[in-house]
Amino acid sequence: MTIIKKFEPVKNEKGFSKKYILFSFLFILTLVILEIWIQNNMVLYGGKLEKISKLEESLEMENQLLENQIATQSSLTSLASKSAELGFSKVEKIQYIR
């Protein structure tokens, strides 16, 4: 007796398997959680950035004020009056050494 194998079409196994769908879902979920976590952290950094920006602004301002104070203190008008207070006076007659 000849047994003839019943011809059955091969099942298409290329579609998404349950395992694959689950893996994708977990991956997306991880990404979403990660994004939420990063966003949360970023909000905290926003506060820090604001603080740093304000600090930078105030330091720049302080720098400018100090620079101007130095310029005032070392101005010739100021130096002339300070040297006069200390008793310095202009040389009236210059002696040349030859």
Binding site: M42, Q64, L65, E67, A71, S74, L76, T77, I94, R98
Partner: protein, 565 residues
């Protein structure tokens, strides 16, 4: 029937909802969108820092100080609190209690306006801002701005100019360097727009737009701080000593045309320019024309020497007495006459008749091109905003008497900067240089050097040497010899010009001046000193010359130039 009514009610609801949505989404969309943007976004203007101005040694002549604009938000302050707030603010802003009461009234009227935002005061310094902030007053805020700062006070005021506000309330440079280089100094402001959360903090992952602010360029001047200080001190002393109405001095490096010092009195404080009369703002060294008088003789003599029409020992044939010309009598300043005097002596004695002789030798056809060569009738192109141009009469409008009077510096107008530039050309072997205040312009890491520029040749080099020797004699043997520092070779010439008033010259009102350079053999500086209407003496030899020599003495020490004696 009931179903009909229910359907109708639902239909009306639907119409109402659609209408409301249409109102919000279509009619009010732009407004709501902008309101939402205002809530989510912060828009800020970033100020560009105005460039600094430095002396040649790198010290600051003008910089910027942080300042603040104080504003209030009247709608956020209750009516009951407004009078108290106005009083408190006035106390902080005005230290004088009496004036503070007046001010509180002004502030209160501002706070009572039906506005969201009002400006209370501007240009508040950091200290006052801190004091106000410590009181935690509600409904007010500050905006950062800046204020010009001058560590040397009113030094170089007219050369520098000032920073004021234009018609759009934007800070702008006026007059002098601030005015001329306003485009370079002001910079370009920027903007920042970023998304903010409910607490007003920036969202780092949100939208962020920025237009970077570009700070103004810094200017490094040729102006020497020490020389400027010396010149200002001596000029101030001279102004008081000689009772002059105005005084000015310019010191230039003849080889490069670099302006080493420029001062004039009366001057003003550029930080408080609004407290001074507007006529003080212009720099007389470049903006005021005057008749140069006898200082002009060296230029006319140089022209005649260059044309080989006279020599230093040529004799004057018309110097034995007053000269009658075109209905006018030309005399010497002291009515003393020296028949057959040499050209050397014409300069030494500052003899008007001798110069008429030289003028006649030249004639208009030869004199006129030299006036142009020396820079008359043209701007010197100095880099200052307010340079004036006294007109040089057209050649066809000159009469014989005009040539005669021009030969001794009357009937012709120049600015002090034109005069010093012309004389400096004699100190520079005949090369006329363009005067320059700024040495370099610095933008972040780039530097633009302004190189010396030769404008033309006035006389031949050998003629420049000859006229220099004549000017040296004028100093050592002339009327001002008593004031000359011993052992130094200085070339110079005094000038006393009467001031034309209502068509005639007032003999008691003069412009006394001295122009020269030193050391004569290798000039380090050329200088002009001018006093307007001095009271103690009308003569340049007794007023401007002593100031010139006092400044020169200090410059010799500064440049380490030793006396020959």
């Amino acid at each position: 029937m009931r179903i009909f009514w229910i359907k109708s009610i639902f239909f009306l609801f639907l119409i109402a909802i659609i209408s409301r949505l249409f109102y919000w989404q279509i009619l009010q969309s732009e407004k709501l969108q902008s309101q939402a943007e205002q809530q989510h976004f912060e828009n800020a203007q970033v100020l560009a820092k105005r460039g600094n101005i430095y002396f040649s040694d790198g010290s600051i002549l003008a910089s910027s100080n942080p300042a603040f604009l104080l504003y209030a938000l009247p709608k956020t302050i209750s009516s009951a609190d407004k009078p108290t707030l106005a009083k408190k603010l006035a106390r902080f802003l005005i230290k004088d209690e009496a004036k503070a009461d007046d001010w509180s009234g002004d502030i209160l009227s501002k706070l009572s306006q039906d506005l969201y935002w009002v400006q209370i005061a501007k240009n508040i310094d950091v200290e006052t801002k801190k004091e106000i902030e410590e009181n935690n007053l509600a409904g007010i805020g500050f905006e950062l701005s800046s204020l010009r700062f001058y560590p040397e006070g009113s030094s170089s005021a007219q050369l520098l100019g000032f920073v004021g506000f234009d018609e759009r309330d934007k800070s702008t440079g006026y007059f002098g360097v601030e005015g001329f280089y306003n485009g370079e100094l002001k910079g370009v402001g920027g903007t920042v727009k970023n998304e903010r959360d409910a607490f007003g903090l920036p969202i780092l992952t949100g939208s962020f737009f920025q237009t970077q602010a570009k700070n103004g360029k810094d200017l490094h001047l040729n102006l020497d701080r020490s020389i400027q200080f010396i010149v200002e001190n001596e000029l101030k002393k001279g102004l008081i000593k000689y009772g002059a109405k105005e005084a000015l001095a310019v010191v230039m490096e003849p080889k490069s045309g670099a302006i080493l010092a420029m001062a004039s009195y009366p001057n003003y404080d550029p930080a408080l320019y609004f407290n001074f009369p507007a006529e003080y703002y212009k720099n007389p060294a470049v903006a005021q024309a005057y008749e140069p008088g006898s200082t002009f003789k060296v230029l006319v003599m140089a022209a005649a020497l260059n044309e080989d029409l006279v020599k230093p020992d040529s004799k004057c044939e018309i110097c034995s007495g007053p000269i009658q010309l075109g209905g006018f009598t030309i005399r010497t300043w002291n009515n003393k006459y020296f028949p057959q005097e040499s050209m050397n002596d014409v300069i030494v004695h500052s003899d008007n008749t001798g110069m008429v002789f030289v003028g006649q030798k030249l004639g208009l056809d030869k004199l006129y091109p030299y006036l142009e060569k020396f820079g008359l009738g043209k701007l010197t192109n100095i880099d200052l905003q307010d340079e004036a141009l006294p007109p040089l009469r057209e050649k066809n409008q000159w009469r014989e008497i005009d040539v005669a009077t021009a030969s001794f510096g009357q009937g012709i107008a120049v600015t002090p900067i034109q005069m010093i530039t012309a004389v400096a050309s004699l100190a520079n072997g005949g090369k006329l240089m363009e005067p320059h205040v700024v040495k370099s312009i610095v933008e972040e890491d780039q530097t633009f050097e302004i190189t010396p520029k030769v404008v033309g040749e006035t006389v031949k080099e050998e003629v420049a040497k000859v006229i220099t020797e004549m000017m040296v004699k004028a100093v050592s043997e002339g009327e001002a010899k008593w004031a000359k520092p011993k052992g130094f070779k200085i070339a110079g010439k005094t000038g006393t010009a009467q001031i034309p008033i209502a068509g005639h010259y007032d003999p008691n009102k003069t412009i006394a001046s001295f122009v020269g350079f030193a050391p004569a053999d290798n000039p380090k500086f050329a200088m002009i000193v001018v006093y307007s209407q001095p009271q103690t003496s009308i003569y340049g030899s007794e007023t401007a010359a002593p100031t010139f020599f006092e400044i020169a003495k200090e410059l010799f020490t500064y440049y380490k130039i030793a006396s020959d004696e």
